[in-house]
């Protein structure tokens, strides 16, 4: 594992996914933000990953058929 002090771009690449997942601790997040504010190479790739996440989520959305919803409701325990 690298550190921001040794090789900031390599460290940024390592933490980019947990950073986007909001799973970094406060100090790691601050280091990543500081590096991203200074490095256009990593910032470009960070923005791409952010867009990609949104794109994947939107592309994957497939709504449930209304008939399925009715079938699920029919599985409820009947009221006596």
């Amino acid at each position: 594992m690298t550190s921001f002090a040794d090789d900031p771009c390599a460290r940024c690449e390592e933490v980019l996914q947990p950073f986007l997942d909001r799973e970094l601790n406060e100090s790691e997040r601050a280091s990543a933000e500081l590096h991203l504010s200074r490095c256009s190479y990593c910032r470009k790739r960070y923005r791409f990953e952010e867009h990609l996440r949104r794109f994947v989520r939107q592309a994957a959305v497939e709504e449930m058929a209304p008939e399925l919803k009715a079938r699920l409701a029919a599985l409820r325990t009947p009221l006596l």
Binding site: P18, R57, L72
Partner: protein, 195 residues
């Protein structure tokens, strides 16, 4: 010792019926969100619909084991992923753990290389098609895909995904990492051709 009179018994039954109805209504209100995740845990709409019905039937039967105030969507998905794994997935080979040489910036670099004049981040994503996302997701091995779908589509935290799948959080992180790499590789191959 408390005495159970017909009156207290009637009140208990009425309270239980009310709690059950509330549970069922809450669970049904989350069905759209649960389905969005379920749809990509399996290969087809039909399989997702069957899985939803099995999961909801089981949830309605075991509603008493849900602790009110905890995450109902995660509880429903735990039932659903368990059912999905029970459907013969255990027989499947565990995906290989051979090292993935490509770094995390791999997809961006591949797409940028293929059209260097147009490297604006949003435009680069636009080179991917919606259909390619769906087929790339289905190409990710099951164990990795479960985690990618829960976190990236279901928006669950690592801790929730670990609880839903009953695996350690470190396993969530490594599967997520590898699953996303496979997804990116598939997307790159579809967008600019296999290397």
């Amino acid at each position: 010792m408390s005495e159970t009179t017909p009156d207290t018994e009637a009140r208990r039954l009425a309270t239980e019926a009310r709690d059950r109805v509330r549970f069922e209504e809450d669970a049904l209100a989350l069905a759209d969100q649960v389905y969005r995740v379920a749809r990509h845990l399996v290969g087809s709409r039909e399989e997702a619909e069957d899985l939803m019905q099995e999961a909801y039937a089981r949830a309605f039967r075991s509603w008493r084991s849900f602790r009110p105030g905890t995450n109902l969507r995660a509880w429903l998905l735990r039932i659903l992923t368990n059912l999905n794994i029970d459907r013969g997935r255990r027989l499947q080979r565990t995906p290989g753990m051979e090292p993935l040489e490509e770094g995390d910036y791999f997809l961006y670099n591949r797409l940028e290389e293929s059209a260097p004049d147009n490297s604006d981040e949003e435009r680069v994503v636009d080179r991917l098609s919606q259909d390619s996302v769906v087929s790339a997701l289905s190409a990710v091995p099951h164990d990795f895909r479960d985690v990618v779908v829960l976190v990236d589509i279901g928006d669950f935290s690592y801790a929730d995904a670990a609880q839903i799948l009953d695996i350690p959080i470190g396993t969530v992180m490594s599967r997520l990492h590898r699953g996303r790499r496979v997804l990116k590789k598939e997307l790159a191959d579809e967008a600019v051709g296999a290397a």
